[in-house]
């Protein structure tokens, strides 16, 4: 509970609710794990409904604390999604660039969010597993303009950057291709979202709660983060290891 942050003049801090949506196995949990822990490993925690994590994102003039809801992948959990995207200020809609059907699903989620989520929600479309397409790996963005990637049989890529980008532009979405495995572009996605959230829509002091409460949350953040790094809301299974 050390008020280290309080020693220097604190940057304004605000929390932003972010929800991850997308077909199962596109790498939602992996992206979050990369963002929160800078780690990539097989997913050991079962996700019941959605996993909750937080991570801070430092911008030059303010700190954004992401409250991340990583939704369960199984199709039938889709009907629970409204519970999680409700009041979200931002969403990461993820697809797998090696699986065209996942982009179709991603488009459905975008449409759903645009129609049902809070107006003004910032949506980022994220094509994950970029590492599987070695040819255009790191220089994907630059190289893509010349490279018609779908014509290259040597990569596992099945969704061209151009196609996805065009769609993203049409729907005014942020767009990134990432690899949770290598970490490529992952923090960029979150930073871009943080920057795109209009200052006015940031969760100010909650109604009636006042700034004091807000400060209290900020102070408690470091604690929370350590806690939540264990992923999910599941408690340690103390009794069972013996």
């Amino acid at each position: 509970m050390s008020d280290g942050a309080g020693a220097t003049a604190p940057k304004p801090s605000s929390s932003v609710k972010l929800v991850l949506l997308g077909e199962a196995a596109v790498g939602k949990s992996s992206l979050v794990l990369r963002f929160v822990n800078n780690d990539f490993q097989p997913n050991k925690e079962p996700t019941i409904g959605a996993a909750f994590l937080t991570q801070k994102c430092q911008l030059p003039n303010r700190t954004i604390k992401f409250e991340i809801w990583d939704t369960a992948g199984q199709e039938r959990f889709a009907s629970l999604a409204p519970m999680y995207y409700r009041n979200a200020q931002s969403a990461l809609v993820v697809y797998d660039i090696t699986k065209p059907s996942s982009l179709v699903k991603a488009k459905h989620w975008v449409a759903e969010l645009q129609r049902q989520a809070s107006p003004g929600i910032v949506i980022a479309l994220v094509g994950n597993k970029l590492d599987l397409c070695e040819d255009d790996n790191a220089e994907a963005e630059q190289a893509d303009a010349e490279n018609e990637t779908e014509e290259e049989p040597s990569t596992a890529r099945k969704v061209s950057t151009k196609e996805a980008k065009a769609y993203a532009d049409e729907e005014s979405l942020l767009f990134f291709e990432t690899s949770a495995k290598t970490g490529h572009n992952v923090s960029e996605v979150f930073t871009a979202i943080a920057n795109a959230i209009p200052e006015t829509s940031l969760k100010g002091p909650r109604s009636g709660a006042g700034g004091g409460t807000q400060a209290a949350i900020s102070a408690g953040q470091d604690n929370n983060r350590v806690n939540l790094n264990a992923r999910g809301e599941a408690g340690p299974k103390e009794g069972c290891a013996c």
Binding site: K17, G49, S79, Y84, R206
Partner: protein
């Protein structure tokens, strides 16, 4: 919303006693049936029904003195030894295979009030819903004697066994279970009836003894009770076979969670040993108050699984089908499925911290149980969270035992939790929220104010039974009580968690803090609740114990009844949310064609599609239930035994409840069409149900008189069945599997409704009849097209946007204005004739543009042949030229306007050829198009009328049209004509036009229709004649003049012919429809019909049917 009243209607129709199902499931939460309540109270399989019941007193032998030791002595004195043994007063119930006794005074007799049947859903005071007593499979009764006592009229002595000879007095073996003495308290007759039923059941029960042995051998109690406590287990049976303990889960290999010393496992085992010695075990167990107490303090490791089985009732499923688990695995060995893929992904993340699940053994068990369940209940398949629950079960249960417990969980204890829409989960979250709001308004207000959604926190508690939230040892304690007392336990515990953490939660203002408060609480469950207390006893109380106290004392008022009530209260809203979500998703997924239709129309189609599927399912279930009831089928299919599918039956098909059917067969398609197009409603309903529709009479009488009045079409209009509909179905059935998905329907309808392009709609229609897709429609097809046009127009055509949409009135030959419907009918009859006159002979040379052109230039000439009505285009010298403007893209039509009138004679020769069956003819699309465009009315039909005849959201069909398809609509459509009969309209000869006075428009239209039919009949007749002549070797037919003459002069004969024998069957059908529709379909029209009956034999037949039906109703 749209299904809401359907649900209610369906529920009214369902006799609760007929359909089995779990209590507290959505199915039954509104009105659980007595049978459901009965099964639920005694944890019986869905095959069991309450057959007899009687008040009785149960006497158990006195507690043997050697039990003393550590046994709790705090028995309820009132129940304790009066004279000899323990007495319990309660109800004795008999089902097909079980004898049950409970001190809970429930009654399931027909005469019992609902509260008497559901008494157990109230407070359970820690006894569990079944109260004290027993649930005894009849096969466990070894002997039953009637006691001859003076004081008791009817006293039975019941000797029970577990399938093996009991030990005792030096003989090895488990002790015999207690002898039950049951004194029946009722009239002599009641007692005798009960005993007779019991005797029958006992005889049947003999068959089950083998099953009982199999199952008992897998029970740890059977092994455990073989020896006294505190001695080393006997290594072998008297016959020398070794005794090995049965499988008690992974825990026996990988250790059970927790420190068994701290959990005082051995003391608990001792208490259970004592208890079972007195009260029997597995099949013969009798529940006394200690049973419930021993569960509340936590079950010992080795007996935990078995007691779960008994208290949840999965034991009785296993008893009925002990081999189902193995058989299911064998049956599906090597098969793959989506569920299996999904299971595979989660195997490594199911309690990975437990050693057993770091081994192949544990993973293998988990895989097999989940897979087997996905096979017996494919509707649920596999849902994430089941992996965690089953993993936890497998620590204490064998694979097979876990399999049955999983069945009970999914079907009964957690209804709808794991379904494909997870409606049960969402509903219980809503219920939980409302309970929080009620019991802890301050916390609730705080949550609302801070916009924290409770369910994101509590959902995993319910979905994984706290296993994923609490340390395992505590989660298992919750499970112990949950299996005994039911789902309400989950709510009580959840409320207690919030209550205990209330203060901290009031400081939390966002999801994150909220979650971490609870998380740290769960981590501290094993710590002292009062660490600073002076009193060591208080210090010893753990947070978990405190939690249990709050849950079951403070929230004692939360009963199963509360939960059921709340579920039915919120069900509608929750299902609606899911449905609107599903609808949005589904509509977005309909493919590119769907973009041609408006959002409203798509929404309408979606609703209509699923409503039809839903209603049909409801009806078939009701009908099925009725049939079942009649047959008194006591036993059901094996799969139902475990899955309890019928339990979920009454509402299956509702979108939010998960997929049942999402495909429409042809009958469903007909019903679908009947709801959107008036032409798809039959003219001669076979169901009498409509008669009765006034007020609530339909349902009231349906209940009384169900078998007689249950229409296969429900309350909606009965659909017609016509060649056109079959063709439409085939065309829409793009996948060729004789079933339509919503996508098929939308894709099929989009070109009709969405294009607004006359050329493509003509083509669409043509293709419907071009069976082999060779661009030609043959003679048969032409007849069918004509017939279809008559069929589609027989209730009038909603004209609309076409060029002929009456700016100026079209006049009939008598100078009176014609209604659009009249125009249409006349156009169709002209079309039929032209088709045959201008059809191309089936020679390559005639298939070219010339052929079409030759036809066209003769159109005007022959315009008037059949009906004077045809003279409606006096002003159009060159109708084709005009039409070609609207069809500019069609060069075939554009050309011939220059070289108009050809030789009539040759043309007629061609026409003759067309009628000559020896030379096959066809029309091509260009010809067809030309024929359509040549006629303003038909043009308008294809331009808009056809599309408009499908009423979707943007122009909903008035319900009156749907429910009473009758001529009333035509009156509405053309009110100005209704008063002015046009008797001279028919050219078919003097007699044909005679219309009974007062028949007005209807009679006139009948005549026109008859003409149309007559033409078709004539064509057919000529074909037949030609054929005959051919057969006789004749080579030529009469001249064209004779032909025409015949047309004109023999009208009467033709009419007769049409109605007698020469008409091909389908024409007869169509004709019949046309003629009797107004008589049969609407009671108000029956009178008018009877006056018309003199003209039409079909009409009077219709009348006759009508009369017959109404007498059926009087009975």
């Amino acid at each position: 919303m749209f299904l809401q009243n359907l649900v209610q209607k369906a529920q009214q129709l369902i006799d609760p006693a007929v359909l089995p199902g779990p209590l507290g499931s959505l199915t039954s939460s509104d009105r659980p049936s007595k049978a459901q309540l009965f099964r639920h109270q005694f944890r019986l399989p869905d095959t069991q029904n309450p057959l007899y019941e009687i008040t009785a007193e149960l006497t158990l032998p006195g507690k043997s003195s050697r039990g003393g030791g550590g046994a709790p002595k705090n028995w309820d004195k009132s129940n304790w030894d009066r004279d000899r043994g323990t007495h319990y007063v309660g109800q004795l119930h008999l089902s097909e295979q079980f004898l049950c006794f409970s001190t809970v005074n429930t009654s399931f007799a027909n005469t019992a009030s609902t509260s008497a049947s559901s008494a157990f859903t109230g407070r359970t005071h820690g006894t569990g819903p079944a109260g004290n007593g027993f649930t005894l499979p009849l096969c466990a009764v070894r002997r039953m004697e009637r006691l001859h006592t003076q004081s008791y009229m009817f006293a039975l002595s019941v000797t029970t066994w577990n399938g093996f000879d009991a030990g005792g007095e030096g003989k090895a073996g488990a002790p015999s279970p207690p002898k039950l003495t049951i004194q029946l308290e009722g009239s002599r007759q009641q007692c005798e009836r009960f005993c007779d039923g019991l005797k029958r059941g006992l005889r049947q029960g003999i068959k089950e003894v083998d099953n009982m042995r199999t199952v008992a051998q897998e029970c740890y109690s059977e092994y455990f009770m073989y020896d006294d406590f505190d001695v080393t287990p006997t290594p072998e049976k008297p016959d020398g076979t070794p005794r090995t303990p049965p499988d008690t889960g992974l825990g026996s290999v990988f250790k059970y969670p927790g420190n068994s010393k701290k959990l005082r496992d051995r003391s608990k085992m001792r208490l259970w040993h004592e208890y079972m010695k007195e009260n029997g075990r597995n099949t013969t167990l009798v529940r006394q108050p200690d049973f419930h107490r021993l569960i509340r303090v936590g079950l010992p490791n080795l007996l935990r699984g078995e007691i779960w089985e008994l208290s949840s009732g999965s034991f009785y499923l296993r008893l009925q089908k002990p081999k189902l688990y193995q058989e299911t695995l064998v049956k599906h060995e090597g098969e793959g499925s989506l569920a299996i893929d999904e299971i595979e992904k989660d195997l490594n993340r199911s309690l990975p911290e437990y050693a057993g699940f770091q081994s192949e053994e544990g993973i293998g068990r988990l895989r097999r149980v989940l897979t087997a369940y996905s096979w017996i209940n494919p509707e649920v398949g596999y849902c994430q969270a089941m992996n965690i629950v089953v993993a936890a079960l497998l620590i204490y249960l064998s694979e097979s035992q876990a399999f049955y417990v999983l069945s009970i969980l999914c079907d009964r204890l957690l209804p709808g939790y794991y379904s494909t829409t997870m409606y049960g989960t969402l509903l219980d979250q809503r219920v939980f929220e409302s309970l929080v709001e009620k019991t802890m308004p301050i916390i609730w207000d705080h949550l609302v104010k801070n916009d924290v959604q409770l369910s994101v926190v509590s959902l995993p508690w319910f979905l994984s039974l706290y296993i994923n939230s609490m340390p395992l040892i505590f989660a298992f304690r919750v499970l112990d009580v949950f299996f005994l007392e039911g789902p309400k336990v989950l709510f009580q515990v959840g409320l207690a968690i919030l209550r205990i953490n209330g203060e901290e939660l009031l400081d939390a203002t966002d999801d994150g803090t909220f979650i971490s408060v609870l998380k740290s609480y769960f981590a501290r469950l094993g710590e002292s609740a009062h660490p600073k207390s002076e009193n060591p006893k208080h210090r010893a109380i753990t947070n978990f114990q405190a939690l249990m106290v709050v849950a079951f004392k403070e929230f004692e008022g939360i009963t199963q009844h509360t939960i059921s009530e709340q579920r039915s209260k919120h069900k509608g809203a929750v299902l609606e949310n899911i449905e609107s979500f599903a609808k949005r998703t589904s509509i977005r997924n309909l493919g590119p064609e769907s973009k041609k239709l408006s959002m409203n129309d798509l929404g309408f189609l979606y609703d209509r599609f699923y409503t039809v599927l839903y209603e049909r399912q409801q009806r078939s279930q009701i009908i099925q239930a009725e049939a079942d009831r009649k047959q008194k089928q006591a036993r059901q299919r094996a799969s139902e035994l475990v899955t309890g599918v019928p339990g979920n039956a009454p509402e299956m098909g509702r979108v939010a409840l998960g997929p049942s059917s999402s495909q429409m067969d042809y009958d469903a398609f007909r019903e679908f069409l009947a709801g959107v197009s008036k032409w798809a409603v039959t003219d001669s309903p076979s169901s009498p149900s409509k008669e009765d529709k006034s007020s609530n009479g339909y349902f009231a009488s349906a209940l009384r008189n169900r078998s007689a009045s249950l229409s296969p079409w429900g309350a909606g209009p009965e659909p017609a069945d016509h060649d056109f509909m079959q063709r439409l179905f085939k065309k829409w059935d793009a996948d060729g599997n004789s079933a339509l998905t919503l996508q098929n329907v939308v894709t099929g309808l989009a070109p009709i409704k969405g294009n607004r392009d006359i050329m493509s709609s003509i083509e669409y229609f043509f293709e419907l009849y071009d069976d082999d897709s060779d661009g030609k429609v043959d003679r048969e097809g032409i007849l069918r097209i004509s017939e279809a046009l008559l069929f589609l127009s027989r209730r009038g055509v909603a004209g609309g946007l076409g060029p002929s949409s009456g700016v100026e009135e079209v006049k009939g030959p008598d100078g009176l204005p014609m209604s659009k419907d009249e125009q249409f009918l006349s156009a169709v009859s002209a079309f039929i004739r032209r088709c045959f006159e201008y059809a191309d002979p089936d020679h390559p040379s005639r298939q070219d543009v010339d052929g079409a052109a030759t036809g066209i230039k003769n159109l005007d000439v022959k315009e008037d042949d059949l009906l004077d009505l045809g003279e409606k285009k006096e002003s159009d010298d060159h109708p084709l030229a005009e039409n070609s403007t609207s069809a500019a893209d069609d060069s075939v039509l554009a050309r011939p306007s220059t070289n108009s009138f050809g030789q009539t004679a040759s043309k007629n020769a061609e026409a003759n050829a067309a009628l000559d069956p020896s030379s096959p003819v066809h029309i091509t699309l260009p010809t067809f198009r030309m024929l359509v465009l040549a006629d303003e009315t038909l043009e308008s039909f294809f331009d808009s009328g056809f599309a408009n005849s499908f009423h979707l959201a943007d122009a909903p069909l008035p319900s009156s049209t749907l429910t009473s398809p009758s001529f009333l609509n035509l009156h509405n459509a053309a009110p100005s004509n209704s008063a002015s009969p046009i008797p001279t309209i028919s050219p078919g000869g003097p007699g044909a036009g005679v219309v009974a006075p007062g028949k007005g428009l209807r009679g006139m239209l009948d005549n026109i229709v008859t003409d149309g039919m007559r033409v078709a009949a004539e064509v057919k007749r000529r074909m037949d004649e030609a054929q005959k002549e051919l057969d006789r070797g004749a080579t030529t037919r009469g001249t064209e003049d004779e032909e025409d003459e015949e047309y004109e002069d023999h009208g009467r004969d033709l009419l007769d012919v049409a109605e007698a024998d020469a008409v091909p069957e389908r024409q007869g059908e169509a004709g019949g429809n046309l003629l009797d529709k107004d008589i049969v379909s609407s009671p108000t029209k029956a009178e008018a019909g009877s006056s018309a009956a003199s003209v039409k034999s079909t009409g009077s037949t219709g009348m006759g049917k009508d009369v017959e039906k109404s007498t059926m109703f009087e009975r």
